[in-house]
């Protein structure tokens, strides 16, 4: 079959993703109390959870979509979304790789994704996901020995209700913002991690290893709690381009670090950015916040954002504990028609708190991106320090980069430094590399990777290598 026909077929399949036959496991589009009750019941949740969801829902009804971001998109019809649907049945999914968009497969190839994983990523009906059940079992045993809880949020609500109840919504309250409120009302998936006192999690945790995470939820809710002196490194996402029939994604991630705890949260996000015109791409409205609740606690966000049609995301740190530390390292790449408004908030509350922000933005094609960062130093945050560095790199002359730094300094003992640069990928750098025989595309990726180095070196080793490959694929065809 010609690849064009193939693509059409795949696209048609895509459209029909919103299965029309109403089975018992799927609710029709629309959102009201009964939808929420249905979700809560399907998940086997206790009464308090349903109440919590409904509280969020009532708050959400009174709220309006934020409009301050530097983004353009048509209004979202929240009644047109189906808030609970069972995963596609195997017979409805592509039966083999031959039925998958060849372009997608080509990208997997370039990213060096092992053959057996490609099928799973492309949504092909395979029996054993990643055929690594044994790996997962060993993994679970190890965590169990260490006393680390790592499971889906739904399972946690059923199995560890006290822990969830104690922390859920304490970092991102139900009515924090429009999308967080929506998420609080209807979330159906996500992870829960609890690392007990004094435990250093024996391995990096990744959703990849959570068996039931094969399909990314539209409204994910993740809660990570590190008790006193505990440590964990959590990896979210995947470098492979992920397609999803749900256009709107509104996740919430809450991190809680108690005394001397350290949470490192790394994300590589590469959702479908849409076609050349940005059509069909994912809207990603995420609320991520970490609470350094205990003294000397530390939370570190590292993100590589390359996908989605629209990204609205500001991983933040509340630095409450004395001498607590917040870090944000970010690389955001936009190409084609992508739009990204991303950055961070560092809220210094406790004494001698420190924060570091390193944000690198790369815009190519006709994309547009903004860095938006707030550094707030409260009146009691004596001796607080912040260092911010944000650099933008433009490729071509049809893209845009904007920087919106906000600073609110509430006492005179704080030290706040801010450095910002915007540069066009320098013609002379390109010429220099090409005059050594390196072709233009390789030269661009070399220069861009160099530009991002400060952030990449914060990523876990394996992720860093993947991130470089991903950057190259994302920027393909952005010059010349």
């Amino acid at each position: 079959m010609a690849s064009e026909e193939m693509e059409q077929l795949v696209r048609r399949e895509y459209k029909q993703g919103f299965v029309t036959d109403i089975e018992s496991d799927t609710v029709p589009p629309g959102l009201d109390e009964s939808t929420i009750a249905f979700i809560s019941q399907k998940k086997g949740e206790p009464e308090w959870m349903l109440e919590w969801r409904l509280e969020a829902y009532y708050q959400w009804l009174k709220m309006t979509t934020p409009s301050w971001a530097h983004l353009e998109y048509p209004p979202i019809d929240y009644q047109a979304i189906s808030y609970f649907s069972a995963p596609k049945k195997p017979e409805d999914r592509p039966q083999s790789l031959d039925e998958v968009d060849p372009k997608l497969l080509e990208t997997y190839e370039k990213l060096g994704i092992p053959l057996h994983e490609r099928a799973a990523l492309a949504g092909v009906a395979v029996d054993a996901v990643f055929d690594s059940v044994s790996v997962t079992t060993t993994f679970k045993e190890k965590l169990h020995e260490a006393g680390v809880i790592f499971c889906s949020i739904s399972e946690a609500i059923r199995e560890y209700p006290e822990l969830v109840r104690q922390y859920l919504g304490t970092v991102v309250p139900q009515a924090d913002n429009y999308f967080a409120a929506l998420n609080s009302a209807v979330f159906t998936d996500g992870s829960f991690v609890y690392v007990p006192e004094g435990v250093k999690c024996p391995m990096e945790l990744s959703t990849y290893f959570r068996i039931n995470a094969a399909n990314t939820g539209q409204f994910e809710r993740t809660l990570i709690v590190c008790d006193k002196r505990a440590q964990v490194s959590y990896l979210e996402g995947c470098t492979a381009p992920q397609r999803d029939e749900n256009q709107l994604h509104a996740a919430v991630v809450e991190l809680v670090a108690l005394e001397d705890a350290y949470i490192k949260y790394s994300t590589v996000q590469n959702w479908y950015p849409g076609d050349e015109n940005g059509k069909g791409g994912i809207y990603n409205f995420v609320t991520k916040r970490g609470d350094c609740r205990g003294d000397r606690s530390r939370i570190s966000w590292t993100q590589v954002e390359t996908g989605s049609a629209i990204t609205w995301k500001y991983p933040s740190c509340m630095l409450r504990g004395k001498e607590s530390v917040g870090e944000f390292y970010s690389v955001a790449v936009t190409n084609g028609r992508q739009q990204a408004d991303t950055g961070t908030k560092m809220i210094h509350i406790g004494e001698n708190t420190r924060s570091t922000i390193v944000a690198k933005g790369i815009a190519a094609g006709r994309s547009d991106q903004a860095y938006r960062g707030l550094v707030k130093i409260g009146p009691r945050a004596k001796g607080a320090r912040n260092y911010t560095q944000c650099d933008s790199l433009l490729i071509g002359d049809q893209c845009g980069a904007h920087t919106f730094p906000y600073q609110e300094i509430g006492n005179s003992t704080a030290t706040v430094e801010h450095e910002a640069t915007t540069s066009k990928i320098a013609d002379d750098q390109l010429f220099y590399c090409r005059a050594r025989g390196i072709d233009e595309e390789d030269a661009v990726s070399m220069i861009v990777n160099g530009f991002c180095k400060d952030v990449f070196q914060e990523l876990p080793m394996e992720f860093a290598v993947e991130a470089e490959a991903l950057l190259n694929v994302t920027l393909e065809g952005s010059v010349g």
């Binding site: 010429f431 590399c433 005059a435 050594r436 025989g437 390196i438 160099g450 530009f451 991002c452």
Partner: protein, 250 residues
């Protein structure tokens, strides 16, 4: 090896080169001298393929190939290499990484596989020792925070690793103290061979005491107005450019 014929070049409609002829054979070292603004740097930039220059007339042939039809990287892979007057800084990209990428790109163009890592390390260590560069330079970002002399040595290091057929050196002596000049000159001299040519652009005769040219050309107002052997450079040093101009007009 290199044959430039009747080359006319403009920058933003301003004529810089106005009918330049130059022939460089394998095994030869040529020096182009001339007053500021004569078009010396333009010549090497155009041969390397830099943007912003418009060739309105004339041809450049390299081993019989039409250089003007080739992409920048194709010219480099064919063996045309330009050493920059102001080497460019590339933050975050290790020097050794650039060297390896460049060498492998050239090897690929010749149908050879990538150079094995141990062989590459040996080569690079050897060559950086020749340039009296500490191995730590290889791990630093390309030219970032390098002194003027370090940058120039780095340019020659690239030449030693990449082994071009025609090495073009644009004001390689500018900003060098005597010791650095000696190191750079030794590096360039080690490149001299029967199957390689070197084209130097320079203001000053002093470089030519260290790298003795076979031919010296005087470039004035977009044309080569006088050519000679190494003694011409000495004469220029003593008498300036005026007399050449007068002679050429007459």
């Amino acid at each position: 090896m290199l044959e430039v014929k009747d080359l006319h070049v403009t920058i933003e409609d301003k004529a810089i080169l106005k009918g330049l002829d130059l022939t460089v054979n394998a095994g030869e070292v040529h020096a182009i001298m001339g007053p500021n603004g004569a078009g010396k740097s333009t010549l090497s930039a155009v041969i390397a393929g830099k943007d912003g220059y418009e060739v309105t007339q004339g041809t450049i042939l390299f081993e019989g190939q039409d250089v003007l039809e080739m992409e920048i990287e194709e010219r480099a892979r064919a063996g045309l290499l330009l050493g920059f007057q102001y080497p460019i800084e590339i933050p975050g990209v290790k020097n050794i990484y650039l060297l390896k990428a460049a060498l492998n790109a050239q090897r690929a163009a010749r149908g050879e596989g990538e150079i094995p890592a141990p062989e590459f390390m040996k080569l690079v260590r050897e060559k950086s020792a020749e340039m009296k560069m500490d191995p730590s330079f290889l791990q630093r970002a390309v030219n970032e925070g390098f002194s003027g002399g370090e940058k120039k040595r780095n340019e020659i290091l690239q030449m030693l690793v990449l082994q071009p057929k025609l090495a073009m050196l644009d004001e390689i002596d500018s900003g060098l103290d005597i010791d650095a000049m000696k190191v750079v000159a030794d590096g360039v001299n080690s490149l001299r061979s029967a199957d390689r040519a070197i084209l130097m652009v320079t203001h000053y005769q002093r470089l030519l005491n260290h790298i003795v040219p076979d031919r010296v050309h005087v470039l004035v107002d977009g044309r080569i107005v006088k050519s000679g052997d190494k003694d011409l450079a000495l004469e220029l040093e003593a008498r300036g450019y005026e007399w050449v101009l007068e002679e050429s007009v007459a």
